[in-house]
Symmetry: C2
Subunit: 283 residues, 2 copies
Amino acid sequence: MSGKHGEWVYETVEEMGARFGIRATEKLLDEQTPYQHLEVWRTERWGNLMLLDGVMMLSSLENYLYHEMMAHPALQTHPAPRNVVIIGGGDCGTLTEVLKHREVESVVQIDIDEAVTRAAERFFPELTAHNDDPRVSLRFEDGVAWMKNAPSASVDVIIVDSTDPIGPGTGLFGPDFLADCHRVLREDGIMVGQSESPFYHLPLMLDYHRAMKAAGFAERRSLLFPQPVYPGGSITGTLARKAGPLDELRPLADEVVTRYYSTALHRGLLATPPFMQEALGEV
Amino acid sequence: MSGKHGEWVYETVEEMGARFGIRATEKLLDEQTPYQHLEVWRTERWGNLMLLDGVMMLSSLENYLYHEMMAHPALQTHPAPRNVVIIGGGDCGTLTEVLKHREVESVVQIDIDEAVTRAAERFFPELTAHNDDPRVSLRFEDGVAWMKNAPSASVDVIIVDSTDPIGPGTGLFGPDFLADCHRVLREDGIMVGQSESPFYHLPLMLDYHRAMKAAGFAERRSLLFPQPVYPGGSITGTLARKAGPLDELRPLADEVVTRYYSTALHRGLLATPPFMQEALGEV
């Protein structure tokens, strides 16, 4: 805490002996939901900042990086994505990016915690502005159970926009859930999941690859991209496809306006850096 | 400070209301050189950590990202790099990467502060292990003056591996120094300079482009890459070529072993993200 400038809001990653702090001017929300501790702060320079269980989820300033990278690589790899499912994603930032794609006919979003979406409506309204799009169905229930009950071969793209593999997000990293994703995807289906930073949590990224492999996804690719509020300032999304290549992309349609993503960048990020390749060789 | 775990070493970026901390267990060096305040800490998880004037310069754990990206993109763009000059770079990490290229016949490194190199020898010996390579000449003097006095059209690649544009590094971002770089490069010469993070210091990146343009470099490209200890966890290196394209690369030779850099990634990073393109449109 400090007087003149407001107070520091920290996320500390004990296992890396590191922490990141953003100076906040006002706490806008502090709520214990049935699932997690939800905070929203007004900050000096980052707009609003949401934390879940003390972990920074998004800031107004730069959430586009993560949300674009959770949506566009998977959608541009699929030859004709019509039906999309988002697991998690309650802030609706990824949903906003998905809705930019005209070929998408339906998006079902399943986040267990309705309080996150209600907070986003208040404090990140730019991310929820399209929630009334007729293609959207918002469900507030357990994503693991939803996927278990979903019909086989019924979805083109699954996006797992989850918290870390602690708390309510844990099941979303396990082989049972991923096997259900594999089953629910159509034959040319593709999934993407947030898979942590290789600089901070390489073992978690490797575990995720192992679980995806066990679930039947033969080929996987982790794309590394910057995200300043996440530990170490970058994070990966891991793509996995039921069948077919991961490196054949459709060019981005003109109506999909982005700030970070581009087809050329996507191609480059598909080239797994050697230090990650080496680690993944053990999977 | 805290007892059990050692103490937090912070770098605070006031203008972004943000700070990054690494837990240290011991202060290994604390020296006021003629030019700057030099600290080296032993940390819990990052190996050793060097700071100059309170700004994190490098950690043992992940300095390869920055050093590879300061060396290889420029060298792989040049058709036949023989003579290389490094301005700054006293920790010798960039030098180590340059020396992996067999076609390089000479590297002159000019860092104003010999204390940095002496500290690197003690605390980052893996970076100084090749300083006795017969191709290397280390000079401890003012890089701005050195460049002013260097013969025209005498160098293939100039790498400006500088601190931020405060303190001793200030002159390295200005149009006079950059005009000297332009003059000293051969006709197919190329330069690269560290140009800050577009998330934290976009105005500095734009100023750098303006100064490069004023110095005669018609085409420039800022490559964005991760570097966890730098503000926001990523940084750019800006390439500028006297004549010729920036997007024609030689494939990396087998002997140049890297952990982050690859030719495919380099191609992708040449695709300037739209948010940076938009800002650079004003330059």
